[in-house]
């Protein structure tokens, strides 16, 4: 196999919270948004990052496009440490790795026309001005906004959510990146237009041979776009493997809960009762040992003492002491 395009080794992103006063009172503390995550991505691979709010999936995505700097471990893009990139290398990286944001209405400047929205990255990357018009048209065409000329002078509020999310996608793609992070790109959209945006995402990725990370809490959506899924909980990876295997036979107790919780559009199916209760604990104060243990139906004494390391089980990596084939 070729060298990985993305390589994470024990990557950490810890936020310090609190101020000088709370520090004196001993209240200042650390939130481990990403805590020792390792995985790699090969060219053309699509991986879903799956988990509940606060599990670190968005922080993970932001690290990979260098919107956050890691506080420990290593995060490499084509062998180079992302945090060490400077000057022209950094600029090159910025145009090769892009992010598609969750809420299209927040992701664009309402006072920029669609043309200006799409020209901005070209200007930032110092692309020759004579090519701008054609590239803008091509990018709009690529994301399925047929008859692109009619969109150029429009403003974001004149577009529907689905159209605007395509513009956000076009902006991410206009510099022809190799790697894209999509952060819940359809969660703000109506069901009837979601499918269109997801189809465009799949189609463009395949056509351009993009490497992609798709962040979501909905396994049904991840399954539609990614052949591989990484399940995260409180900053750590619980399970990593082929999406179809996780959907049909989740191994980690947390993956099992996520699969059981996904609602489906059928009435007469017997729903498994949810295997877990409660909600994720306060990230300032995670449980010792396995972070999932206080909600886990399988937890035993060992789980409080010993952090489970990812183990290879068949096609998957699973971080649990008790899972076996």
């Amino acid at each position: 196999m070729s060298d990985p395009i993305i390589e994470l080794q024990d990557t950490k992103l810890h936020y310090k919270i609190g101020n000088a006063v709370s520090a004196m009172m001993g209240l200042s503390t650390t939130v481990k948004a990403v805590d020792g995550v390792s995985f790699s991505l090969h060219k053309g691979e699509s991986v879903g990052l799956l988990g509940e709010s606060g599990c670190g999936k968005t922080s993970m995505g932001r690290i990979l496009v260098r919107l956050e700097e890691i506080t420990g471990g290593s995060a490499r893009f084509e062998g180079d440490e992302i945090g060490d990139l400077k000057g022209t290398d950094l600029q090159r990286f910025r145009s090769r790795s892009q992010m598609i944001f969750q809420n299209p209405f927040d992701a664009v400047n309402p006072r920029y026309s669609i043309r200006k929205t799409l020209e901005e990255p070209l200007a930032n990357a110092k692309i020759s001005r004579s090519t701008w018009h054609q590239r803008v048209i091509d990018a709009l065409d690529l994301v399925g906004l047929g008859d692109p000329e009619q969109f150029l002078e429009r403003y974001p509020h004149q577009l529907s959510g689905g159209q605007l999310q395509r513009v956000v996608m076009a902006r991410a793609l206009i510099l022809e990146p190799d790697f894209v992070v999509a952060d819940e790109p359809v969660s703000m959209l109506d069901v009837s237009v979601r499918a269109g945006v997801l189809n465009v995402f799949r189609d463009v990725r395949d056509r351009l041979g993009l490497t992609a990370i798709y962040i979501s809490h909905d396994l049904a959506l991840v399954r539609y776009v990614c052949e591989r899924t990484i399940v995260m909980y409180l900053g750590k990876i619980m399970e990593d493997g082929p999406t179809e295997d996780i959907v049909h036979d989740p191994l980690h107790p947390y993956s099992q809960a996520l699969v059981a919780a996904v609602p489906t559009p059928h009435v007469d199916q017997s729903h498994d009762p949810l295997p877990i209760g409660g909600s994720a604990p306060d990230p300032r104060n995670p449980p010792s040992g396995c972070v999932f243990r206080d909600r886990c139906p399988m937890a035993q004494l060992r789980c409080a003492d010993e952090v489970p390391q990812p183990r290879r089980i068949g096609t998957r990596l699973v971080a649990c002491h008790f899972v076996s084939v």
Partner: protein, 339 residues
């Protein structure tokens, strides 16, 4: 059969925007049977939230109920005096908003807010109200020790549970929930839905659930009312809607939804186009411009909501051909490409 708890008859609701009258809900008609959960589904701007809010008569200043009746337990909500309406709210009809953060006042402890409703609306003494607040928290699965917390100390799921507790405080007959789980993670979503359903069974509640999510409807709703561009286009029991829809819009929605339990991932098919501008609604069927089965008749003559089979209402000129159309609707090519 018992009389329905709520019967909405030909209700129209208009917003005044500048010189324009925009009719957000137009001749809506549906029933909520005693003790059932009814889904109100449709995309943004279809009028589902306006309709739901009108049931408590808490609507925007520039909105008015222009026509129709809403018969609730023998009285018409539309014609009630503000004073009578006020005594109906909380006690008989309660509302759960989409964002519970907006329904809880950030500067008061949660306990105070619940106790205030119980004393003001339920006429309880302070000590009775406090006891009831503990009961309510236990009922919705929050540790009553958290009653003294402020709303910001709650997680999203807990806030939504607290909003449900608040809605159930005075044992209403009808709870109107506006996308109560949309903003939540799948696991919390499922917990809240399970909670709502068990409360509905225990207390004999009726619930109107506003949502755009078909899988939420499939999971919890007995009946479903589909709205499109201000109109009710289909109204039937949920299983029938999902298995044998009569309206092409309902057929299209199903194609657009990912299904974790399907054998493969298949292809999701969007419904091309977007809903019409309600300031200038089209003649004929409002879905015609996006409907792959539209005929000339559909473009000029608006279909009326009729009872196709007992308890199954639909507004489509081609409802009689639904069996054949459903087959055609399953072909991705039928729906064209989306813009």
């Amino acid at each position: 059969m018992d009389a329905p708890l709520l019967s909405v008859k030909d209700v129209s609701i208009a917003y005044k925007v500048g010189a324009l009258d925009i009719v957000a809900v137009s001749n809506a008609r549906f029933d909520v049977p005693q003790g059932s959960i009814v889904g109100l589904v449709g995309e943004s701007g279809c009028g589902k939230t306006t309709m739901a809010r009108a049931l408590t008569r808490v609507i925007a200043d520039n909105a008015r109920i222009a026509a129709g009746q809403m018969q609730f337990a023998g009285q018409d909500i539309v014609s009630l005096s503000e004073k009578d309406m006020n005594s109906l709210r909380w006690r008989d009809i309660a509302f759960i908003p989409q964002s519970a953060m907006n329904s809880l006042d950030p500067v008061y402890r949660v306990e105070y807010q619940i106790v205030e409703v119980l004393r003001d609306r339920g006429g309880m003494s302070k000590s009775t109200a406090r006891k009831r607040a503990v009961e309510l928290f236990e009922m919705v699965g929050i540790d009553p020790g958290r009653l003294r917390d402020f709303p910001h100390q709650f997680s999203g799921g807990m806030r939504q549970r607290a909003a449900i507790a608040l809605a159930l405080a005075l044992e209403p007959k009808l709870v109107v929930a506006d996308e109560p789980v949309t903003a939540l993670d799948v696991i919390i979503q499922r917990q809240i839905l399970d909670q709502l359903r068990s409360l509905q069974r225990e207390l004999g509640l009726s619930v109107i659930m506003v949502t755009h999510d078909i899988s939420v409807v499939a999971y919890i709703c007995d009946r479903t009312v589909v709205m499109y561009a201000g109109k009710v286009v289909e109204d039937c029991d949920t299983a029938t809607l999902l298995n044998e829809p009569l309206h092409p819009y309902a057929m299209g929605l199903k194609n657009a939804f990912p299904d974790l339990h399907s054998a493969g991932t298949g292809i999701l098919t969007p419904i091309a186009g977007s809903p019409p501008d309600l300031a200038n609604p089209p003649h004929g069927c409002r879905f015609a411009a996006r409907c792959p089965f539209a005929t000339d008749q559909c473009r000029v003559e608006e279909p009326a909501l009729t009872e196709d089979a007992p308890g199954h209402f639909v507004a489509c000129h081609r409802a009689a051909e639904a069996v054949a159309l459903r087959e055609e609707a399953k072909q991705p090519g039928t729906w064209g490409t989306a813009a």
